[in-house]
Amino acid sequence: MSLLDLSVCLSFVLGVGFLGYVGVIVTGFLRARPDAPGDPSGYQWHFVVPCRDEEAVIGTTLDHLHRRFPTARLWVVDDHSVDRTAEVVRALGDAGLPVHLVQRRLPDARTGKGDALNAAYHALEAWLPPGTDPDRVVLTVVDADGRPSPNLLQVLSGPASFGDPAVGAVQVEVRMSNRAVAAPLPGRGRTANARARLLARLQDLEFRGPISAMQITRRRTGTVNVGGNGQANRLSALRQVAAETGDPWGRALLEDFELGLRMMLAGRRNGYTTTAWVEQEALWSVRQLLTQRVRWAQGSMQCARYLPRIWRSREFSALGFLEVGYFMAQPWLQVVGLFAYLLPIGVFGYHAWAYPEFTADFLSHGGALLLSLYLVLGVAEFAIWGPLYRRRCERDIGRGSALGYGLALAVYAAGTYLVAVRAFWRLLRGNRGWHKTARTASVAVN
């Protein structure tokens, strides 16, 4: 067996496997229906907003949250900001907003978002009066620029969310607030702005398309996981998870994914809904996006240490184990896949140069059609999300634009291979630094 033979077989297996996976999640995505609302008055609602140098946005965010959800309390974790974040929060508290400032100072600050959220958790626990029913207390994590949908509390109270006692956490759909900004980079050229606009739109498509579809499928497998923005947690479930180490959130770079796993290991079910959502800023810079995604991939790789516990756990079904295993294997498979796909392509390229007649013979006897089929399938499994995005999420965009976004998504997705390799390299070198994603400049929607 040569390395080329192995690569050919591996690329075939990985390709067919991914194609099947896309088929499964697209089916679930198309079948999804809205979730029924519930009565939020039976719960105590808390928003947790971790912050570091967010003076530009935190004030408007807190004001927005209070106006939209007047019964909710707001917990802002100031992770040793050097700007006026704390002053802004205090001023709003003095003005009568139900806001709590949880300040962290170096050296006990900037140690990761998980630690910041744990600080808020402990502060909330200390604040709650004795006898509070933890099953009726919900903490929702929102980014400093986060904008939850108006129906958030009603949907979270519904029978598919916290209305079901088994549910410990719920993730809502994530949307990009700046997906329709016409001139994201004023002062820069037309090309830079077009690229930034496309990048924002692709992030919106990604979250509301394939990521949402994966989560919808996970409702069937019982392995829904939570993200960094728009994750709502029942306090009793957080206590259950915290019983192990004292803190609910861990120290992986993907602390939200880690929490979701720990929730499942604790016997809780996680919910997911597209009926409510949270909006956040998309990144307009490719470099920032790659940095963010490398962190996510590395965080996912770090969570591989939970696989033995998942294996031993009785809380996962066989299908759930399969799903979690496949998802957690993704970054690793991408590292392998990069070489498995590139080697045969490289050998083909060499043969085309060294043996042009042989290659021409191959192409003229079905080879060209076969390669075209591979290309079409390889692109189509991403491009399909463009029309699906238009159909289910953004009916205002044109059919041509939708197809264009889908094709762009195929290029966008190719970047994940480089992300996986970089994350793997960082993991090997023991780099665990947390790079907070810089805030993009806010521009009024045109």
Binding site: V16, G20, P165, G222, Q240, S317, L370
Partner: protein, 193 residues
Amino acid sequence: MPATALSGLPARPATRSRPGRLGMVCGPLSLALAGLLVGGEHLYRNLELTAVAQLATHLLGLRTLLLPSPHAPVLYAGGPEGMERGIALTTGCSSALLIAPFALVLGLLLLFGHRRPGRLLLALGLAVALIAGTNLGRLTLIVAMQHRYGSAGFEWTHVLFGSVLMMAAALVALLLCLAVVARGSAPAEDVAP
């Protein structure tokens, strides 16, 4: 930690069944099969090409000659007018490495625990039958097309039609296995709180 420990909720029944005797026996066997298919794929290829030779002889009425080789077994087939160009079965054209992942994953699921381990074995059997059978059919078709149309028949069948056939078979096998695993796996929404 059970849900009753802290919250007062009734304990959720465990979602997963422990592996029974069937799972504990067949799980390692399935994993061993995966290992054998990878480590012994050269032997598998010889067996595969032997089967193709039999099909070419009995179904197509051709004369066949099978030559083992250190790199790839070679099958010569032809009619009364003589043997055509030999067909070498390389690793990339064998079903061994396509079946191995199914044996690996289903073996792990058998060991992990499933309410219906018999269904997993059925899924494995179907996947093996589908992929191995389709590859035998593909190879026999290649022999037949070469006999009928010569070099062009070989090229088109080998390069295009055979590849598409195998892709379809692998995809069907995958979706079939997923459906079988899903049916016997406790769906989260059916577990009573």
